[in-house]
Symmetry: C2
Subunit: 387 residues, 2 copies
């Protein structure tokens, strides 16, 4: 088990009608709130109205900036910063899913940046301060509602990079599972693929003996495997939506990575994909993850896959190798059951940029992955396996 | 799944040599620290010296108050408050296990109380403010290092009561598993019994469908079942000590209780026991827990015990009822493997006060337990089963 530092300062309000606490929760941070939203569903389904009602009730002044897209763009962030500066905003409230939250995090520290904000993503710079932020979550997927990570796409440069600072961790997050009742099945499935991938990226690790995070990761995977397909088929099943929502936060709040070396190769490969092709992040992950598993399974790593097969998929009575191989089959079947694609060509991606994307990753990171170290050729091979 | 509010603000520094971060971690809170310790083992094994070295290096002035006993007493708290007031303390650092931490929490808010501090425990009063506190943990057991709970014994009144406020949650906790290498086997076993009981108190619940906390509780139980006996037999096994230490914090930081109605009857019954007899808390729990299980198992609760048997103890191929019964047998065997007592008489307790203790609980709470509601006669019956 590795040393770690962990802190989870986000105050989580989980459950039906928790929006009632919004004004009280924000008030300690100020009186002028910028509400940032996506493409309109929060207005269509009345969540926006609820939010402003409760802000009005508590006498909190609010401004609005809407239109953040999936794979949120630097240009949207820049525009948001302008609005926040013009209105002397005290607090930014993300009302949406991971894309909106990640954009809000970039705004929260970007407001204090004089030069080029993208340099912070390129060079992983330290930030000194950020505006406090909060979230009202409407999509279970990225876990951004309970961590300090922000992934932004620079559309001009075809770059999609992550940035992390504890200072960007939301102060409050309102997690009302009923807000995800209207998420369409495909988006629900992308979210589930994202959550599952977050867990696998941290589960497969060279660290031995880290039982607390390992067993918790298995607990979360079992939850997602059981309730994911139910949430997909029964969008208004409260228990399914609740478990998936809470699993999404728990999967990436630091707990299952604490004490472990984590991998993250699949995510980095997917970031390249969606920087080039603007596909949903969860879709890219669903395609790549099982091929990464196939590539990563070898004599050195077989024990990890065997444990995964036994503890997560309850595969018993097979040899280690068969258990390991079967665990990958089950993973693909699970993703299939959510009607997720299994080939890049299914989403219109051919081999044109595969080599270039692998080269980009090499240029930036030299190698990626810490459970299975991938060089440029390995990355390209996995992309080609996924074709 | 129930609504919940959850926040885990404690900054955890986990692993070898994390004490190096102590000065830097405390500095934001002030410059005058009161170090509170137990009965001397932290000096014997050099941990105290380490702590003051790092405080001195960072120019932090420190004062000392030692001698807190297990089942920490109100009189010790009062004495600590006096010292803190006299020296204008900014921050209190608990250096020890749960007893020291719980006493420090009482001091942290007691310093602002003008009247009788015990009234706060008696009447569960709200507190307005508290000094910031930190912990350097030397015993894996109570989880007090990551929550706002404090259990104090009023020795004059034979009362041992819990108190909770988010304001008492430690700002920082240093969890170095090597600091528990010198914990003797019996204390190690009491700690393990305490951790296991904390998990069971929250696992057995009338709430349905709370998979995230339920599966995480199972993850923690599996960890304790596997590594507990190893930590007991091999005191310097780092991985065993590390997993038990982190399990102790995770068992009572709010995560496995979030979204659930929790029971806590066994703990309340034990508090009565140790208020009367001053036995170690973990010892009392180890005795009572399996008898509580036997009493609680009935037609209405059988499914919960069946799930416990299958998911925690891997009991397969038996009927629901046999699985449920076997799960209790396994629980007792697990506690036996740590050489923990299984009868009150083993620790010198006879039936003299059993009725009185049951009456005390009825007087204070009317009934106890929310998974299995216990009235006075039920409580007395469980005490008698444990004789």
């Amino acid at each position: 088990m590795e040393n770690f530092i962990l802190q989870l300062p986000t105050r989580i309000y989980f459950g039906k009608n928790q929006i009632e606490n919004l004004g009280k929760a924000i008030r300690p941070y100020g009186n002028k709130v910028l509400i940032v939203t996506g493409k309109g569903s929060v207005k269509k389904y009345g969540i926006f109205d609820s939010v402003v009602d409760y802000l009005n009730k508590d006498g909190i002044k609010w401004f609005e900036y809407s239109g953040i897209c999936p794979n949120p763009r630097l240009s949207s962030v820049t525009e948001g910063i302008k609005i926040a500066r013009e209105n002397n905003i005290d607090f930014i409230l993300a009302l949406g899913g991971g894309s909106v939250i990640d954009a809000v995090k970039a705004m929260a520290f970007g407001i204090y940046v004089e030069g080029d904000l993208w340099d912070y993503y390129l060079e992983d710079r330290r930030i000194e301060k950020a505006l406090p932020i909060g979230t009202v979550l409407t999509l279970s997927a990225t876990g951004s509602e309970m961590n300090g990570g922000s992934v932004i796409t620079n559309e001009d440069k075809k770059q999609k990079y992550p940035f992390f600072s504890y200072k960007l961790t939301p102060k409050i997050s309102i997690l009302d599972p009923t807000y995800t009742f209207t998420v369409p099945p495909d988006q629900t499935a992308y979210g589930i693929a994202d959550i599952f991938s977050h867990i696998l990226e941290q589960y497969f690790s060279p660290t031995c003996g880290a039982w607390v995070p390992d067993r918790i990761a298995e607990a979360l995977m079992k939850t997602v495997i059981h309730w994911g397909p139910i949430a997909y088929k029964e969008p208004k099943n409260y228990i399914a939506r609740a478990n998936i929502m809470w699993a999404s936060s728990m999967a990436l709040n630091g707990i299952i990575g604490a004490g472990k070396i984590t991998d993250w190769a699949t995510h980095l490969m997917e970031h390249e994909l969606s920087a080039y092709y603007d596909i949903p992040h969860g879709e890219g992950l669903a395609i790549l993850q099982p091929y990464w598993m196939e590539f990563a399974l070898d004599e050195e790593t077989i024990n990890s896959f065997d444990t995964y097969g036994r503890n997560v998929w309850d595969i018993n009575g097979m040899s280690d190798e068969k258990t390991a191989r079967e665990s990958i089959v089950r993973t693909r079947e699970f993703l299939d059951s959510l009607d997720l694609p299994s080939h890049l060509q299914d989403v219109g991606i051919d081999d044109k940029y595969l080599k270039e994307m692998a080269e980009n990753l090499e240029k930036r990171f030299n190698t990626i992955g810490r459970f299975k170290i991938l060089k440029r050729d390995d990355i390209e091979k996995i992309y080609r396996m996924a074709l």
